[in-house]
């Protein structure tokens, strides 16, 4: 079992490290490849005039993303502790949906990746996980929406990843997606992307610390400009990404 301390996000446990490496693999089949974390719309809107402005943009996008979604990752993570995990999942998902309904593009990305995450868990990690199987069934039946943050928290919990590592991983994946999308959009080159991703560590960890204790009712966005831009995605004349 993991004994992660807050100061070192990754514990010394070999098994947990192997699992974390797997979860960060960009070949992981969760459909994240088509999502740009809001980068494409922002870039086309002229918000990233040069490669050197990308790190600041990334940090501010991650800040808003964390305040918006970390409470739901945590909620998903702790649902299995309640008497009725499915009811707890429904409650968290309904609140998440209310926040997402005002952003069609982000919502679409969240729903696609949510069910993909559950599918991955069932097919690869735990075919007998009853809670995850039931939750996926309800999503497929259209009874609930199935947002990504909650599914992610749930799956990580079922894999015995610590809550600190779960939140850290969640933000890492967002940041990594943003930088690899930037490479595919030719904003930066691959070496530059890796250098920026490495340098992003401190700022991202700071953001994780700020959001670790937020409740679902505290979930908010902190960047209205980014919010407008992301909503513009479907009206872009040419686009590479789905969201």
């Amino acid at each position: 079992m993991m004994a992660a301390s807050v100061n070192s996000p990754f514990s010394a446990d070999d098994k947990s490290n192997w699992l974390l490496y797997l979860l960060t693999d960009s070949a992981l089949p969760t459909g994240g490849f088509v999502a740009s974390s809001g980068l494409e719309a922002s870039f086309q809107a002229g918000l990233i005039p040069s490669a050197s402005t990308l790190p600041d943009f990334t940090l501010s996008a991650a800040h808003s993303f964390a305040f918006n979604t970390v409470p739901f990752v945590r909620a998903g993570y702790y649902t299995v502790d309640s008497e009725d995990p499915i009811a707890a999942l429904e409650d968290a998902d309904a609140t998440c949906e209310a926040l997402m309904i005002g952003n069609t593009v982000a919502r679409r990305a969240s729903l696609a990746q949510g069910v993909a995450m559950l599918t991955l868990h069932i097919k690869c990690f735990s075919p007998d996980d009853e809670v995850v199987k039931q939750w996926k069934k309800m999503i497929r039946a259209g009874k609930v929406d199935g947002h990504f943050a909650i599914c992610f928290g749930l799956v990580c919990r079922q894999l015995s990843v610590s809550i600190e590592n779960t939140s850290h991983l969640w933000l890492y994946l967002f940041t990594r997606t943003l930088y690899s999308s930037a490479v595919r959009m030719n904003i930066i080159g691959p070496y530059e992307a890796q250098r920026m991703l490495l340098r992003a560590k401190e700022g991202i960890e700071d953001v994780v610390q700020k959001t670790m204790h937020l409740t679902m009712d505290d979930a908010c966005q902190t960047n209205p400009l980014l919010d407008v831009c992301q909503g513009m995605h479907d009206r872009l004349y040419t686009r590479l990404f789905n969201s």
């Binding site: 002229g46 400009l225 513009m232």
Partner: protein, 317 residues
Amino acid sequence: MPLPIADFLPGAGSIICNSFGTATKFTRCHAQYPLKFIPTSTHVDNLAAAYILSYGGGMLSGDEVDMTIELNKNADLLLMTQGSTKIFKDREQSAVAGIPISRLPGRDGPVIDGASQTIDAFVSPTSMLLLLPDPVTSFKHSIYTSYQKFHLTSDGTSTSQLVLLDWFTSGRIARGEKWHFKKYASKIDIRLDGRLLIRDNLVLEDENKEWMPISSFASRLHPHTCFATLIMIAPGQNELSHVVQHCVEAFDRLSIGQVKAPKDLIWSLSRLRHVENGVMVRVAGTTTEMVKNFLKNEALANLDTVIGHGMYEKLFS
């Protein structure tokens, strides 16, 4: 029928509207200092209207404004402000701004940090509520929290209608104050028959430990200085639903190309899937004027068919 809040507390107010055939009247329209309501006429059948004011044109740290609004069967109401709501850091700041305010004590409990406003609105299935204030302007170092809750209802045939505009600026630009406030938080909850359907929660907070000329959030918003959220819910087929449809069509017609520098006015629209003719529009502009013109000419075009031409012109003047 919800119980009226204790509207004798400072900053508390309650409005109850009932319709009598072709006229919506105020069964109650009471506000306690420093809040004030001024009813006005729309010259439109069945549409009541009132201005919401704060004495001194703004809110001080420690001010709490709590409004309860209740629209009963067939009652329609338009609420507006008279000029931008200013959020002051403290009494000294408002005095320097040339606006003397004296404030009565009277609230129990600890002094809250900053100014706060809550609105609790209950809307019957056959009623329409339009909340169209001027933008909020937060002064340097100020803290402001707003929580607006709308309880919409349906009865099988009809559903409540709502137009809600929530917007703010970067501060007193003329004095060089751009994003110099400490905190601006605005939360909107919309429930339908008790179920939370839509939540919008924006928090801009300066995370710098000491005050710096550039707040921690300023650079992420550059170059825009005015942000607006417009929510419209108009199930059925009526004047308001045509306003919504017009807005949706304007968005669907957009074909956005790559630009090197941000445009002065950008906007996007999301359909609110769980209600008929429901949209959330988000706007960002480099000036307040641009956002206002956009709202008048695009997002709320044809709103004059709902609130009358006179009111429409006054609103966007």
